[in-house]
Symmetry: C2
Subunit: 346 residues, 2 copies
């Protein structure tokens, strides 16, 4: 009997991870309603489950807005899309006909109500391009269509923290937990992916980062990497890379939930809330203007817009030339300082 195909393993993993993460949040706040679960299917092939938390008429909940989504989709990738992908994924085959693809991933954003509790985001994904099935090839006995030879595949993902008020011990805990999950898979992974994260979440027009970082990576596969030098020791077989992905996915709850638990009941004033909403405005700016996933979703005619824009906060605020955060030595200025000059936390 052959080993379970990677796409199946990833599907099982993200389904389970979604349940564990949603469960952790529900357990933390048993007095609030559970997450809403929406299962959807995609006409072009595939399905997803969106787990969303929102209580627009109630401000007692720990979370304000949160989404933990998975999607498992497949279809045909046009040559133009493949050409574009080749810039960041050197293994994408060259050709002028559409090729079958498969993509599975989990994506989450959690905006807590309390201004002292940080927003968090994480995303782990797997992508495959396969050959067309050989002529006459039969479907599997269980009815799933035949899958051609695997031509290209990669994993990508990351997670990052966005506080409105900086608690250094929270930043250290978050980065430390993630580093501990990365290190067994290669000592260079955390430092390289931390750097990549700071670069990715930079908002050029504001000259500041969206948050205090975490890790970000893409194109992890057996081939030459478009960003990492070949000298870097990193997992290269599908099994080794998937083991790394599982480590980082599994570490989400321990990296974030203890921080939320510590901050979720911190007393706050309307001034704290106002600053939090201004920071959420920056979050919206990053996601709508720069985030690749969001941009890709907005441009995809068949995308499920409610899932794509689930990352946006319940409320955001923009003030012209706001004076909040400009007072030297204030807690707001302290946070801004770190967003303007990303630092090493471990």
């Amino acid at each position: 009997m052959p080993a379970t195909p990677m796409r199946k393993q990833v599907e099982e993993y993200i389904l389970d991870l979604q349940n564990r993460i949603v469960g952790a949040f529900e357990q933390l706040d048993p007095n609030s309603p559970p997450f809403r679960r929406d299962e959807w299917t995609r006409n072009e092939g595939g399905r997803g489950i969106s787990c969303v938390f929102a209580t627009p008429d109630d401000d007692k909940s720990v979370l304000e807005k949160a989404g933990v989504n998975i999607s498992i989709v497949h279809g045909m990738l046009p040559p133009a899309a493949m050409k574009q992908m080749r810039a960041e994924h050197g293994s994408v085959p060259i050709g002028d006909s559409s090729m079958p693809f498969f993509a599975a991933g989990i994506s989450l954003v959690v905006h807590p109500r309390n201004p002292h509790a940080p927003t968090v985001h994480a995303n782990y994904r797997y992508f495959e391009i396969t050959d067309l099935p050989a002529e006459g090839e039969k479907s599997a006995e269980d009815g799933t269509p035949a899958i051609g030879k695997l031509l290209a595949w990669w994993f990508g993902g990351g997670c990052d923290l966005t506080p409105s008020y900086l608690y250094e011990e929270d930043a250290v805990h978050f980065h430390h937990t993630i580093k501990a999950a990365c290190d067994p898979h290669g000592a260079a992974l955390y430092p390289e992916f931390k750097k990549w994260c700071d670069k990715y979440f930079f908002i050029p027009h504001r000259g500041e980062s969206r948050g205090i970082g975490g890790i970000f990576f893409d194109d992890l596969c057996d081939k030459t990497h478009h960003v990492l030098p070949d000298s870097i020791e990193r997992p290269r077989t599908p099994e080794d890379i998937f083991a790394f992905i599982k480590s980082t996915g599994d570490t989400f709850v321990p990296s974030y939930v203890p921080i939320l638990e510590t901050r979720m009941r911190t007393p706050f004033t309307p001034a704290h809330r106002r600053w939090q909403l201004l920071r959420r405005g920056r979050y919206v700016e990053f996601n709508l203007v720069y985030d690749r996933g969001t941009k890709f979703g907005l441009l995809t005619p068949s995308a499920r817009i409610e899932s794509v824009l689930m990352s946006l906060p319940e409320t955001a605020r923009w003030e012209y030339m706001t004076e909040v955060g400009t007072e030297e030595g204030s807690e707001e200025a302290k946070c801004l300082e770190v967003l303007r000059n990303p630092k090493e936390w471990v």
Copy 2:
């Protein structure tokens, strides 16, 4: 004595229009503080005045957030920028050296507090590309640098209304006033520019328009137009086009202020406010994802970001799969219906 150059005429006009518009809003709400006036200069050449209204700590004002900005800038346009511009401005010269440009415009966005009062936006602008001054050419006696031969020029602009609650009589008044300002300059202008406006302010990922339209136009010059067929009667000399621009600019106050006056004291509930904030979320989506002026500003390293993003509302809201607006026959659904199917108002 030569006629005043067009760039000088435009500068004088927008300075005066800005004062008149700001004055009209200040007169409407004498108990609120006046607009804040920020004059700025651009290192690369030029200046601007931002007039902004914001009272983040007070919810008694008629306006919630408003900006009426002018900018008068000049500098050198790189060949790559000119090449890009040529798609929409056929008169832009072909060449591989940078050319001097001049741009002057007024841009305004007004978000009132009352959910029954619509948001309004308007923008009128003038652009010039000139040759380098002839070698040895002296600056004018008043110290302004010599200006080379005019190689290309155009006007652009428009205005549009974004209600959260649809009052048909307001939509009719707005469009009727604008049409009356357009008609003396060519009977086809209003219908063509209304169509263009509906097209421009469409939000593809939502399948709806940002608002109920108005007019939108660009590239108005003496040459062939990139959108309008040559058969359309339209102003073609600089003086005739500028007269049209002045008509539409002058009509801003009468097209909008009476609507605001009628709606600004309408009683409203938290449910009305919630819907207004959801609609403001759509406004943010359009401006950050699609609006050309905003995108251009975000990509311009020397741009004044606070002015570029002044158009964003004070507060906006996003709910996952919101049920607001889905109830058939509700006032919210009535507004959505018109945003999904733009109609003719005059």
